[in-house]
Amino acid sequence: MSRARLLPVAAWAAVAVAAALAWLAAGGPGPAGAVQQAPAEETPRGDRLYTTHCARCHGADGRGATDPHNRAPTLVGMEAARVDLVLRTGRMPPADPDGSGRGRSWSDRDREALVAHMTALFNLEGPLLGPEPGDPAVGREVFATHCAACHGYTGDGGVAGGGAIVPRVVGLDPAVIAQAARVGPFQMPRFAEGQISDEELGDVVAYLDEVAVEQATPLGLGELNPVFLSAFAALLTLAMILSCLFLAGRVTMFPDPEPPPDVDGET
């Protein structure tokens, strides 16, 4: 019986744990940072960083290579935004020689120096975007129209098939969000000014910040995907069954037969 008494307690412990898990599964809070426009200037620091980390594949002239075991693209004339994005997300230099995986995470100072250096060296095109957060309400509508299809209504991400995973975009650096929308990295489609204006990008950033801070319950849960909710429904039911076990006198269903008492209960 004492074990039965413990059961509901155990159930609630389980609820708490699962909630924490779900929260982690949902990504938890992300970092937030500021950006400045990077000037085009050659600096010794940038030069050092480039030669140590980039030149091996992209070559000192930044023209990349095309031999089978090194397919580094040319950097000349590439969008500055794309370079900045790749560095911010730590995709370069690659962890694995085949160009996949995430490498080191750059300090802002290094990254800015490197981008500035490369901009000067290989005249990278276009501006670096660092939108200021705008109106979240407008942002929600823009997000629903252009982004939700892949990233989910709450920016939670998902799958895109073909092994492609759509990343969670909540709590990212505004610059990452804005530049990703413009340059369309990897599998992601591009969105031109004509589709999402710069200030609309700011609005989207504001909306995603809103999502990042939204915590609907004391467990820190935001709005959950039905699958995670179903896990909680299961826990709730489980807790209920445990309660029944606890409340009911008789728990065994088909008892082992024992010799019948003298009263005879035959039909």
Binding site: T145, G162, F186
Partner: protein, 325 residues
């Protein structure tokens, strides 16, 4: 704690608590037995005082049949009238006549087929009444009884069916509404907020959801505009409907369960439905490459008008959206 006092499962007689406590098994009939009803011949708990056996009557039978026929017919009139869009007066009166006729039929039938009983019921029902199921009393069968019964049942059925007719009012008849969309030749492609699009508004590898300029957010006309980046479109894509060799438009309504196909994988030009993961190859006429759907997304005939805006050249060639029919 349990002693075995026999207990009939099927009669709520006695109280189990008494049984378990070993108290005398008092049936709920107690108190009732004292009273004796005047002896009119007790019959299964009902004291029949008197009953009048109806004499067989051809006239009566004819009335029943006539009324039943009228009821059935007017039920049909009601249904047909309603469906055929006749005036309220027509099917309304039909319903009225039908119900009234049915009333007469039922009334006359019972008057003929059953005795008119007057009985005494004790206020305390004796609970221990015999468990037999003889009819209250024998009635000489009405002439053509089974026929009458069948006609009554028939009329009742027709009435029931007739009263089901209003179901048809619940929605218009679809016609070919589901096979047409709002796309016609010269219709501009506009975004959800109504801006007409020029080809260069969609970046390479970009997508955009567009509508006919006069039917924004009309589900069936949703179109997804794709700027292919990897490979130029090739058959079965209709190349005449492709603008500057990379801009192609498909219906956004999934051919499986009708979700909007909003997800574009730029690397392999694949359109992907997030609901059930149907995958379409945007470069090859959006033929399904994976998932539960069997049909390609219809391609929108698209061109550019004199002002340089994207326009439709006509409606979709194939049926849009999930399968039906």
């Amino acid at each position: 704690m349990t002693e075995k006092r026999p207990q009939q499962r099927d009669e709520g007689k006695g109280s189990r608590r008494d049984t378990e406590r070993g108290a005398p098994d008092r049936g709920p009939g107690d108190g009732a037995h004292g009273r004796q009803a005047p002896d009119h011949g007790a019959h299964e708990g009902l004291y029949v005082v008197g009953q009048h056996i109806p004499p067989p009557s051809e006239v009566n039978d004819t009335i029943v049949m006539g009324a039943a026929i009228v009821a059935g017919l007017s039920a049909v009139v009601f249904a047909v009238g309603l469906l055929a869009g006749a005036g309220t007066g027509v099917y309304g009166s039909a319903l009225a006549v039908g119900l009234l006729a049915m009333a007469i039929a039922v009334r006359r039938y019972f008057a003929a087929a059953y005795p008119d009983i007057e009985g005494l019921e004790p206020r305390e029902l004796p609970d221990a009444d015999p468990d037999d199921d003889e009819p209250v009393t024998e009635v000489p069968p009405v002439a053509r009884r089974s026929l009458l019964q069948r006609m009554l049942v028939g009329a009742a059925t027709l009435l029931g069916l007739g009263l089901a007719a209003p179901v048809a009012s619940l929605g218009p008849s679809p016609g070919d509404a589901l096979r047409r969309t709002h796309w016609t030749s010269g219709r501009r492609l506009v975004t959800t907020d109504g801006r007409p699009l020029r080809p260069d508004d969609v970046a390479t590898g970009g997508i955009s959801t567009v509508w006919p300029e006069d039917a924004i957010e009309v589900e069936n006309s949703a179109v997804i505009l794709v700027r292919l980046s990897q490979s130029p479109p090739q058959p079965p894509t209709n190349l005449d409907w492709v603008v500057d060799d990379s801009l192609v438009a498909y219906s956004k309504v999934c051919t499986h369960a009708g979700c909007p196909v909003g997800l574009f994988r730029e690397r392999d030009d694949a359109l992907f439905c997030p609901c059930h993961q149907s995958t379409f190859d945007a470069a090859r006429g959006a033929v399904p490459t994976f998932g539960p759907t069997a049909r390609a997304l219809p391609q929108l005939p698209m061109g550019v008008d004199d002002d340089g805006f994207l326009v439709a050249l006509g409606d979709f060639a194939e049926q849009v959206g999930p399968a039906f029919g």
